[in-house]
Symmetry: C2
Subunit: 199 residues, 2 copies
């Protein structure tokens, strides 16, 4: 039986940090895993930038509360859940994800945690484990599921490689060029057409 592991940002909701960059006017915050494959380097630089501008967790949460799912995402997730199980596997943090997950009908989410000080300043982040997306696929395969993985960025590639079926959803050109082995899909109807072969 096939189940689905899907990335969150870029697949079901817009990139959170790009929205934060736009709302705050801090263009340095526009960098994502699409641009910087080293996630720790990316996060440390984000925390430094936030500190420099005096931004705290609640400032970012206020921006996230205004983000809407991508058009069609809610209906797509409903469609998937009628056919099989889905786990959203994201490099976001539970403190950021919650209002987005609520809008998506709360599919199961595996992600990370932020650490704040007593003033609500983000002082650290806790990754659940190294290479968490690939390990989630491995764990589900250990439970005798076949896994279809979907994502758009460099941080999804090890998950797509580990999966029985890997699909790139709306990836940028550099990801397409670096990983030509994965099919590239640009809208939900096209994605549903591929998924129908398995679920």
């Amino acid at each position: 039986m096939y189940l689905i592991c899907s990335d969150l940002e870029g697949v079901f909701v817009p990139e959170v940090w790009i929205n934060v960059a736009d709302k705050t006017g801090i263009s340095e915050l526009r960098r994502t895993t699409r641009d910087e494959p080293d996630y720790d380097k990316l996060m440390r630089s984000r925390m430094t930038i936030l500190d420099k501008h005096g931004l705290k967790l609640h400032d970012i949460q206020n921006v996230i509360a205004q983000i809407l799912p991508l058009p069609g995402a809610i209906e797509f997730i409903e469609w998937v859940k009628e056919r099989t199980q889905m786990i959203v596997v994201s490099d976001t943090f539970i403190q950021f994800a919650d209002p987005l997950m609520k809008k998506l009908g709360r599919p199961t989410l595996f992600c990370h945690t932020l650490v704040m000080d007593e003033t609500n300043r983000i002082i650290d982040y806790k990754l659940r484990q190294p290479d968490p997306k690939r390990k989630t696929v491995e764990a589900l395969q250990g439970l005798k599921y076949q896994v279809i993985a979907m994502g758009d960025s460099y941080n999804d590639i090890s998950m797509l490689k580990q999966a029985d079926v890997g699909i790139l959803f709306r990836p940028p050109q550099n990801v397409i060029s670096d990983y030509p082995q994965f099919p590239v899909v640009t809208d939900y109807p096209e994605l549903m057409e591929i998924l129908c072969k398995y679920i």
Copy 2:
């Protein structure tokens, strides 16, 4: 971070086979894992009984379509999903579970599959793997989650033992007597009180 693995029947919905027994008047079908700890023995005997009475998959599905979640279950699941992630781990079959999962807001479900012949007669079942409930907890612990497991029957015990926290929900007296090490909870408010220590 704690997440929850929960049994389905007896925790969120009534026992499916007991309902089938009541609706069909075949009292032999009332036996569940509460009575017969050997699941394969139980399932083989169920298939023999169904055959003897000429009952097919759609007959059982018609009964299942009329089953309602236990009072409070839908609200309890919503409450859990606002606080952490939950995976329902059941020894039921995807062909039986779907209408129940829809009523519960489709939490993620790990379960088994039935095999039918061309006349819709149930001829076999496919367990995803041996001891699937315990292995699900182990896999999640491998993803660096701490797991709270809840169930009511013998087939939940290895899951409760493997979990970081194990809770018996409305178990029969024989399960309580055999496994006195687990706390026994009889309603959702009491369960929420325990869960609040962790999530």
